[in-house]
């Protein structure tokens, strides 16, 4: 057996994961710090969480972020899944290269460019900036991530199942909804999760495209962070980290369980 797991491998994994996780762990620990001085440990306390509940500005921002995330992730999932179907199922069509390019480019496009360009579009067509402009902006970049995730699952899906449904007289839409969609569902769900967290996370694009009354949580955090590190921000961050971790873990376990069931049924 050539692939021995050496001490070197172990050390690089341990150090690598320490590097990835230590900053977040420290942030979580210091959110329970009684002292206002963030880096001096003054005993255990949950008072920063309590004071969060009275902070209207943060709660408002959290509510805006949640709504933007839910709406944009849902629409992005529909559009992105359509895009994935188009990429995998339609061979050559007019402008395919452009389409593929527009799906792939946002994955690496610097956010300042995406944000600025969308803002200028909204200004050019005189669209009132606020909740909807942020949501549209988030849909536009996160649908591309959804498309890539769903596409990778769709290429491995056995198309003959869908063709059998069509031969048995199902309409294409019905064949898709009843045969294909249940099979690619884990990827669609993962795509939704990804779109939701991307939206939850975004500072730059939201800052460009937002308007009065639509301050998102990252924008709020950013403006406070510029003034300095506070235990209260640590507490907000800890809650976000906990929610996302929980969501990702549940989704992974759920999709793992689901991933096995259709194959089991097929046999």
């Amino acid at each position: 057996m050539m692939r021995r797991f050496t001490a070197f491998n172990l050390v690089s994994i341990v150090l690598g994961f320490a590097f990835l996780y230590l900053p977040i762990v420290l942030l979580v620990i210091y959110s329970f710090n009684a002292s206002r001085l963030v880096t001096v440990w003054g005993g255990f306390s949950t008072k920063w969480y309590a004071s969060l509940l009275e902070n209207e500005a943060i709660l408002d921002a959290a509510w805006v972020t949640l709504r933007v995330g839910l709406v944009s992730a849902t629409i992005a999932t529909v559009l992105g899944t359509m895009g994935a179907v188009a990429l995998v199922r339609r061979g050559r069509f007019f402008g395919r290269t452009l389409f593929t390019g527009m799906i792939m480019a946002p994955l690496v496009m610097p956010e300042v460019i995406t944000g600025l360009s969308l803002l200028l579009l909204f200004v050019a067509v005189d669209f009132d900036r606020g909740f909807w402009t942020v949501t549209i902006a988030h849909i536009s970049f996160s649908m591309c991530f959804v498309a890539v995730v769903v596409q990778s699952r769709l290429v491995t899906f056995d198309r003959s199942l869908e063709e059998a449904a069509l031969d048995l007289g199902a309409t294409p839409l019905r064949a898709f909804v009843q045969v294909t969609l249940p099979n690619i569902f884990p990827a669609v769900a993962a795509g939704w999760m990804l779109a939701f967290t991307l939206s939850l996370d975004d500072l730059v694009i939201a800052s460009f495209t937002t308007g009065p009354g639509a301050t998102t949580l990252p924008m709020k955090i950013y403006s406070q962070v510029r003034l300095g590190v506070t235990p209260e921000i640590n507490a907000v961050c800890t809650i976000l980290v906990a929610l996302v971790t929980l969501g990702v873990l549940t989704a992974t376990i759920a999709t793992k369980a689901r991933a096995f069931s259709p194959q089991a049924e097929a046999r």
Binding site: N9, G16, F17
Partner: protein, 298 residues
Amino acid sequence: MGERKTLGPRIATWIPYAWLIIFFLAPFLIVFKISLSEPTLAVPPYAPVFESLADIWVKIGALSFANYTWLAEDALYIKAYGSSLWIAFVSTILAFLIGYPIAYGMARAPRGLRPILLMMVILPFWTSFLIRVYAWIGILKPEGLLNQFLFFVGVIDQPLTIINTNIAVYIGIVYSYLPFMVLPLYASLERMDETLLEAAADLGSTPLKTFWQVTFPLSLPGVFAGALLVFIPAVGEFVIPDLLGGSETLMIGRTLWNEFFFNRDWPVASAVAIVLLALLVVPIVIFQNAQARMRETR
């Protein structure tokens, strides 16, 4: 089996296609147009370059390249572009040097452990970018945790100044983009044909030699994919230089942000964006081709 010419797939194509044309492609054309307009103090702060679509082509001759000559003449912008490319380049190398051993270790870990390790690399990517950058402020500040620790072990007697320097920016970029480097590396290392390594060993190659002559060359697609995934977004990065960098940290994403939000000079901000895009077009096209090739070979 030929393509079924039905309405469904067509709709599935045209709806996202139209969306991307309106909200991805059209905005770039607008940025391009505005980069060619004269700044005014009106709101929105640019002189309308075109009133109708028909006017666009008529007015192209009369457009002003003043914003671009402004960029070319001001050393600040050129320096910002140069330093963005350099910082992104150095960060990419560092991310590779740190990421490769991690990916290599993961690919050699016991098979049952690999999905968990993979999950653990992906998890930080899901947690907020802003939070992960913010976490470093508390660590790197003069009275921060790193200095406290180094002081405690007795390595230093004067606090190190790391925050608000380029070093902090390197740390921030490497930290934030490390999963993007590790994942493609792991993917290419994990599916490597083991028999090749055995063959090399049977033919008398030392493990080190086998690594350099077999493993590493075979992992190159992963290296390129990872490098592009780190390099391209890092060039235009705003949050990291803004929160961790100092006043001497020049990065073009930050310049663009300042032009837009503080100077309120939209035409110059647009010109900055267009030039940045022009710089990134080549790596982006390489990235797309690599992605397309990977899909075909799968």
